[in-house]
Symmetry: D2
Subunit: 260 residues, 4 copies
């Protein structure tokens, strides 16, 4: 057994201060609880509900900021890519590439990520059965990727709602890869808040604990110094105190179950 | 906080030996782990897939056997009723009446259960939203019932499949009643095994641990001395060793979270 | 090929005037369009959302009113039963017994209906796969029922919503029985209107036409002289003019497809 | 009211012969029934289940073949694009750009399509509520697109299954754009056939008739000279005779409803 990996950060770059403060908090909390951590941040929100939604600073500016985070904190980095040309560019700075859930069947994007030689995290599509993620893993492996993990972030459940099928975690582990619970996006209510997606922050900690108790290798969370004023995914982001408390609970559950 | 209540037993009466052996195991394991227990057993399986499926011994024979269980083990009892006339009869022997999930909107059945003065457990219908269980609670309360709890046993998810929406547990607690996780029926695959419902026993323990970690007041499990030869719900029943091990994990998780 | 059968009436008995006026309209419209009709009316709404919802006059009063409808209009009758003891009582007056969707797996109710010798209509459970309705048909046939039909009324689709899977109509026909589209209950939004179920009347006609175009043997509709003031299911009932117009469209579609 | 538009073609380019034969059939059948037609063909299947699945000849070869189709038949053309850079290239030859269902929330792709000045068809995502397609329409309009239509192709319904919610057609029309029924992809069973998606051709005609009866502006179908040997989507493609017969039925239904 390996220690649980924390994959945590802000949803998207807003300002340098916000990114750096969050990175320091990820470092502090992970060290406090003795867990490895990866800093997660998006450079672009490519599928916001509306054209008017905030998207981020773009690849160039974000990558130079990510490099600063790495230099200061030493944390490995992950970011999500949306078109093939972004994979190699992002891979110059980040350690791990993330394929978004809506795009988990886009063959070219998977292949482009694999070709970088970086580790790849694929979010399970909201419309994909857990066992069918073996096809994404197959496309990555056949393209040379050796470090892969799969992430649960909720399944389509009627309109404007997601449900986390906890069975997906052991089912995706059966594919032979480590699995991650994204407790932040799992509580999204797609498009439910009019021109943007809503979210139910109150369920984040409970779903993270539940996933830990069924068995995971990594935990994905988005945090923000001031979630109610975040420019994206605020309704489902934790604040710093909530993050620290949740990691404490997760560590306690794993210890109770005899896991490192 | 109260201690977790175990609601455990065989799915249905097969023989006196099977019932008594199971009741002794429920008593032994609950005492070993210091938890209160209720012995659960059905007298009739009223909604089996096929006319040829085993249904049980009927109300009279079952009730006299339930009385024996109570006399020997001292465990309180729960059984499920399907038509109004059964409520008062069953209430002569059992301490708690269970309203099945398919029937959770049948007003007369809820009222008949409430009228007995017994505690009532309502399984959340597979087709009912968690918050809408307030209507079942309202019908019971307005009919004089003062001890009510609600049980999650999976939600309809496409055809021949159920998904446990872990959010239902805090959402039903919001109604102001204790909540229970039925980890046995939650892994049913309705009608998926041809003339009867299939099940995935491998997920029972994981879902029970997950529900514990999000927060429950009671845990519902079906166990059998020899699950692979059970006459009903064998594919999702635990054996005795699995039951004991799972309760140990559940107790450890609660302790890790500072719960009694 | 047979002519399309109309199964139409008010949701529930409110007053004698309402029932008689509706019955006369069913007779008038069915004769105008040359279609056979069955008059549908409930004596009791057994699964209303709240205890305060209107339920109907009860079995005795309703049956004597149903007898009047039959005497005056000559229409055959159908009503729904909820517990076993009601089947034989209702069968004294009505020609066809209806098993409600939530109860379509209750073995005793199916058997009690079959034992009356009457024809039986089973609504497909919102949580049941179309092909699995073969089990309900099997229980009826093995209990002596020779005239059976199955009715689509929507499938559970997330919370507080139903979706009509049009494939269910040919799939249930494959079982070897005629199939019916209930376009009224298919547009319910379960519990979505607070203390009662909502509905979207605007989709009734479209779903009825769509089902006709894929292929059905009977069409189930609820109508009301004044739907906005109906005591139950008003939001999804048609008024008399809408009923007449819809039957005209349905007849035209069948003729266009070469059906009688 | 306008005449129904047929959007029909092979799933993907296999050979020049197959494409030309199919285009001639689209022309012949549409003229026979007096309907306008758009020839649909993909140059690349970007989200096949497996890396080994056939994808097509690529953009350059396909575009020169599409130009030949246009020169010979005079039919307007539509093809689907998957990354932003493809939009302008494809728009040199095709009249209408299609945004795939999985990608219907990718802002950059929508904007790139709009910028070409061509008409744009967006498939409703399997995981998107009908009314939320207004966001895709908004992104297109704000980027200068004036001809938009939305296509229903099924909604996620549990795992490995789609359901067509016929309400989506009037709901998407409410957004103020014409709507199309894709009866071919609506009968896909995602990933259900092991390493590729299965399909149920038997339901194509019924769903197309049903959608016509509820109300559509365009009908999308994939056809193949020999569907059982097609390299992609064969299980849900119609053969030429089935296509002709279905268009006859659809025309008859529209005439029965007084539509042109």
């Amino acid at each position: 057994g390996q220690k649980l990996v924390l994959v945590v950060g802000p949803d998207v770059v807003e300002t340098e201060e916000q990114v750096m403060a969050t990175a320091r908090e990820v470092k502090r909390v992970s060290e406090k609880h003795g867990l490895p951590a990866v800093f997660k941040c998006s450079f672009d929100k490519a599928n916001r509900t509306s054209l008017k939604s905030y998207r981020g600073p773009g690849l160039d500016e974000a990558l130079s900021l990510f490099a600063k985070v790495k230099a200061e904190t030493g944390l490995p980095l992950v970011t999500d890519v949306h078109e093939t040309w972004q994979a190699a560019r992002a891979a110059e700075v980040v350690d791990l590439l993330q394929v978004p859930a809506f795009l988990c069947r886009q063959t070219d994007l998977l292949v482009a990520c694999a070709k970088t030689g970086r580790a790849v995290q694929v979010k399970k599509g909201q419309m994909v059965a857990p066992k069918d993620m073996r096809h994404a893993v197959g496309k990555l492996r056949e393209s040379g990727c050796t470090e892969i993990f799969l992430t649960e972030r909720g399944a389509t459940f009627g309109y404007n709602n997601l449900v986390v099928d906890m069975r997906s975690l052991p089912l995706m582990r059966d594919i032979g890869v480590p699995v991650c619970m994204d407790a932040t996006h799992a509580v999204q209510l797609p498009s439910a808040a009019g021109g943007s997606s809503g979210g139910e922050r109150r369920f984040v900690a409970g779903l993270a604990r539940a996933a830990t108790a069924i068995g995971i290798d990594a935990l994905f969370l988005e945090i923000h110094p001031d979630p109610d004023n975040a420019l994206c995914d605020g309704p489902n982001s934790l604040d710093f105190a909530g993050f620290d408390e949740l990691v404490g609970q997760v560590v306690a559950i794993r210890r109770a179950l005899g896991q490192p």
